[in-house]
């Protein structure tokens, strides 16, 4: 352009008046949209696996192939899977047992083996990791970036098309309707995008700032940890911001939970109402219960203590939904590591005038007990059921005494002998034919005895909810 002072002045004035908002996209040019598509779509993959499914009315199990959408979120091939039924399948819970042959199919057609890494029970986010060599070209992935968005900002999402469509992906567009802070942090979108659940959400300049999910507070599901619980459903479009996903991506939940450090406490968020009562800053973890054997007990932590700092970092948890963030911060440490807690301890029985003293507690983390997702199982075709070991989660949920023994029925095959005998999933088997069944080994021994003697029936004594009952199972040999 020729040196033309009036146009320069005009351009300058335009810049002056347009101000910083000029950078906020109101439109996305086709070129920008294409750039987002090209960068993000390749990271969307199909995760497939084989799971055993009970065949209704025939009392047997068969293998069925399942497919679901995943997103590669790390350079090393970590894949994030959202969607509850698929997650169930990968976890091998409910009526989809023993997932195997997990594979990831990339948009370019490459089929790579993968292994199941783990899932977070509270958020139902699960992870698989590509294990086979990707070959010459690198694995495409998206990097989640923690960047705030603004009201009215236009966001783009990329989702898979149904099978057989070429090209394999499509775009969706929605504006930020609200940036919600409370009761949990998420981005509410103005335009529904059906079919986009689990898809990455980008700003106009291509930064992946969230994952499309469902309003965590809809459908009246309250209580700790349920905010992510239905990422798969699409009642109203929200994007779960990167800030909440990055901890999982950095250290995904492992099925081998024992490798994670364990603090052993049940928690309540230190919310604004309590903080105001006591004149303290909101944000923290109230120790609601110390699990028997918790290393926090040795460190002198008490019920009612409020954890305000973890390793010197302020614990900014004000809603029960956010407790998972603290849990992940702890789990990043391996067993044996020491975490330094700063705790506000109430002096005396808590009342509105309680005074607190600041106490330091150094806790040496122990191994995380196995979660029910990782619980060992035993499948019995003879009985038509699968049982598993009792986990800490079961004991807490059912309020079982710490020394409770037995095995839990995880799955009952429809129309099988156990089903006819009215054994139910969730029953806690404590005795079989009069003999105590303390653990899976004892149950396996019982199965061996049955195979050897081939009796006409076997009788279990079970705990079912708060009742106990005898369950007679007639056997066919």
């Amino acid at each position: 352009m020729r040196n033309n002072p009036p146009s320069l002045i005009i351009a300058g004035l335009l810049l002056l008046f347009a101000g910083p908002d000029a950078a906020l996209a109101q439109e996305i040019s086709p070129r920008a949209a294409e750039a987002i598509y090209n960068k993000t779509a390749p990271a969307l993959v199909t995760v497939q696996f084989v799971a055993r499914v009970p065949v209704a009315r025939f009392g047997s199990m068969r293998d069925v192939e399942h497919k679901t959408t995943g997103l590669i979120v790390r350079k090393d091939g970590l894949v994030l899977v959202a969607g509850s039924r698929a997650v169930d399948g990968l976890l091998g819970v409910g009526d989809l047992a023993s997932p195997r042959n997990i594979a990831v199919k990339l948009a370019d057609g490459r089929l790579l083996d993968a292994e199941f890494v783990g899932a977070d029970e509270d958020t139902l986010l699960s992870f698989v990791k590509i294990t086979s060599d990707p070959g010459d070209s690198a694995i495409p992935w998206v990097e989640f970036v923690d960047r705030p968005v603004r009201l009215g900002e236009l966001l783009v999402s990329v989702a898979e098309q149904p099978d057989g469509y070429v090209p394999r992906h499509k775009l969706g567009f929605s504006r930020v309707a609200a940036v919600v802070e409370r009761p949990s942090r998420f981005i509410q979108l103005a335009d529904p995008m059906p079919g986009f659940t689990g898809s990455p959400v980008c700003t106009a300049d291509g930064k992946v700032i969230g994952l499309l999910g469902r309003d965590p507070t809809a459908a009246g599901i309250g209580g700790a940890g349920s905010s992510f619980a239905a990422l798969a459903l699409e009642l109203s479009p929200v994007a779960i911001p990167s800030a909440r996903l990055l901890p999982f991506i950095e250290s995904p939940p492992q099925t081998a939970e024992q490798e994670r450090g364990f603090l052993g406490i049940q928690m309540q968020a230190f919310g604004p109402e309590l903080a105001r009562l006591w004149g303290l800053e909101p944000g923290g973890i109230v120790v609601s219960y110390l699990v028997p054997g918790s290393p926090a007990i040795d460190a002198g932590v008490k019920e009612g203590d409020i954890i305000t700092h973890l390793d010197g970092v302020r614990v900014d948890i004000t809603e029960d939904d956010e407790i998972v963030i603290f849990q992940h911060a702890v789990r990043r440490h391996p067993p044996g590591a020491t975490v330094h807690l700063t705790v506000m301890r109430p002096l005396g029985e808590p009342d509105p005038a309680t005074v607190f003293e600041e106490v330091a507690a150094d806790v040496t983390l122990t191994h995380t007990p196995r979660s029910r997702l990782a619980a060992a199982t035993v499948e019995s075709p003879v009985l038509g059921c699968t049982v598993r070991e009792i986990t800490l989660g079961d004991r807490l949920e059912r309020r079982l005494p710490a020394d409770t023994k037995g095995v839990l029925v995880a799955l009952v095959v429809p129309a099988g002998p156990a089903s006819i005998g009215r054994l139910g999933a969730g029953d806690l088997i404590q005795r079989a034919d009069g003999e105590p069944i303390d653990d899976l080994a004892a149950f396996e021994a019982h199965l061996e005895r049955l195979k050897a003697r081939k009796p006409a029936e076997t009788v279990f004594f079970v705990q079912r909810g708060t009742d106990t009952a005898f369950v007679q199972i007639k056997l066919e040999w």
Partner: protein, 466 residues
């Protein structure tokens, strides 16, 4: 089944007509009426005047607020003083005013005399001042010898259509509906009786009305119906059960029962397993912790043979309520000789009965705080695995979501308020009154194993993030 009767009736009528000398026999209108028709008309005429349409007004506490609710049901007058039998779930324990409409269409007020949720029977009585004459009443029959197939009529107010009569037969004389039933208010029910099942139409509003035989005697009180997907399944409480319960309510205002804390399971399939082949015996499948049964030395797997002087048999589920009733009818605090079969041998033990408490405790609405609490009963402690009955249970909270009440959930047990222990509903009421007008309240609650804190600001509501 009716046709032979009709033909016989016609034959009789015709024969009667032909026997009159000199008359050729035009068929008189009476001939068209069968015996059954006449019986129904007569039975109805004996009971319909005693049928009552019951409209209770209850004060129910939810979320701290007291609300008035109207109900609808039926009842039957059983004596000249205007004593009426109806269902417990019609009047409940909160009916503060009860309006009755008699078959004569007079409206008369009634007072609640007492009730028993376990058998779902309640007794009310027409107010003497409102009732200006002797009340017409129905005669109670017996239910012990009922047979499947007997004709019955049901009277009541289905869907509020009062003074309605339906008819059918007895479909089953001892239907077992499980011992873990709950009434709409959550009270345990169905432990001590079986039901008469009938295909006479029973709809919402029939509750509390009489089931009547062709002699015009009340043989049951209609209480339940099959679910919405079922037709012609109605259930009535047998009159022998009703009579016993009504007598006790008239005498003591309620029914006192004993318990020893055992759960029974039908022995039917398990006799081989236990090596027990006599037709007697009731299998103990569960024993409540700290119960008389536990203290007396009974164990799960024992087969109860005798309780006091009575043989106990529960090979089939239908027999289980009778065994519970044997135990329940024993005086409270009595030492009872118990015989059981254990691992091939007979054992003799002694058990001291204790009173069976109510299953749902008294409620109190903390209006300023936005929630209702109730006393913790043995049943609550058992259902929720509580160590004891200390504290009060949050039964409902005000429906404002995302307020300070989001930290409180129904089912939470309040153990302390502002540092003061709450042992009982009584103590909760005292503390609530003391703290009236307080700006800030701290609740210490138990949820499962967890101790949690809830801060409430009754006047100002919750602070939100500044």
């Amino acid at each position: 089944m009716r046709k032979p009767v009709v033909y016989a009736a016609v034959a009789v009528c015709l024969a009667a007509g032909a026997a009159v000398p000199g008359r050729s026999a035009p068929v008189a209108p009476a001939v068209r009426e069968s015996v059954l028709q006449q019986q129904i008309l007569e039975a109805q005429s004996r009971v319909l005047p005693a049928l009552v349409h019951v409209q209770p007004i209850s004060e129910v506490s939810t979320g701290g607020q007291t609300r008035r609710e109207t109900g609808v049901g039926s009842g039957v007058i059983i004596d000249a003083a205007g004593t009426i039998v109806t269902n417990y779930h019609v009047v409940g324990k909160e009916a503060t005013r009860i309006f009755c409409t008699l078959a004569s269409k007079e409206r008369v007020g009634a007072d609640l005399i007492g009730g028993d949720p376990y058998t779902d029977i309640a007794v009310i009585r027409l107010k003497a001042d409102d009732l200006k004459h002797d009340a017409p009443y129905a005669v109670l029959g017996r239910s012990a010898d009922l047979q499947e197939g007997e004709f019955v009529i049901a009277l009541g107010s289905p869907m509020s259509l009062s003074r309605s009569i339906t008819h059918g037969i007895i479909s089953c004389r001892d239907r077992f509906l499980g011992v873990d039933g709950r009434l709409p208010g959550g009270e345990q029910t169905g432990n001590f009786n079986t039901w008469i099942q009938t295909d006479a139409a029973i709809n919402f509003g029939n509750s509390g009305g009489p089931l009547v035989n062709l002699q015009g005697e009340v043989i049951g009180i209609n209480s339940r119906r099959g679910s919405v997907f079922a037709d012609n399944l109605g259930f009535a409480i047998p009159i022998d059960v009703v009579r016993e319960v009504v007598d006790q309510i008239l005498r003591d205002g309620r029914v006192v029962r004993s318990t020893i804390g055992i759960d029974l399971q039908p022995l039917q399939e398990l006799e081989d397993f236990f090596g027990f082949d006599a037709p007697a015996g009731a299998l103990i499948a569960g024993i409540a912790p700290n119960s008389p049964a536990e203290r007396g030395g009974l164990r799960v797997g024992d087969i109860l043979l005798r309780f006091g002087g009575t043989e106990t048999a529960a090979r089939y589920a239908e027999q289980i309520p009778a065994v519970y009733k044997t135990i329940a009818d024993t005086p409270v605090g009595e030492t009872v000789a118990v015989e059981a079969y254990r691992l091939g041998q007979r054992v003799s033990l002694e058990v001291v009965t204790q009173e069976l408490g109510e299953s749902v405790g008294e409620e109190f609405g903390a209006a300023d705080w936005g929630f209702t609490v109730r006393a913790i009963t043995e049943q609550d402690a058992r259902d929720r695995r509580l160590e004891d009955r200390t504290g009060v249970l949050v039964s409902s909270k005000s429906a404002e979501e995302r307020s300070q009440l989001r930290w409180l959930s129904p089912g939470d047990v309040i153990r302390a308020i502002n540092g003061e222990d709450v042992a009982s509903l009584e103590r909760f009421r005292e503390i609530y009154a003391d703290l009236s007008g307080s700006a800030a309240v701290l609740l210490k609650i138990r949820r499962a194993s967890m101790t949690r804190f809830v801060a409430l600001y009754p006047e100002t509501g919750a602070p939100h993030a500044e």
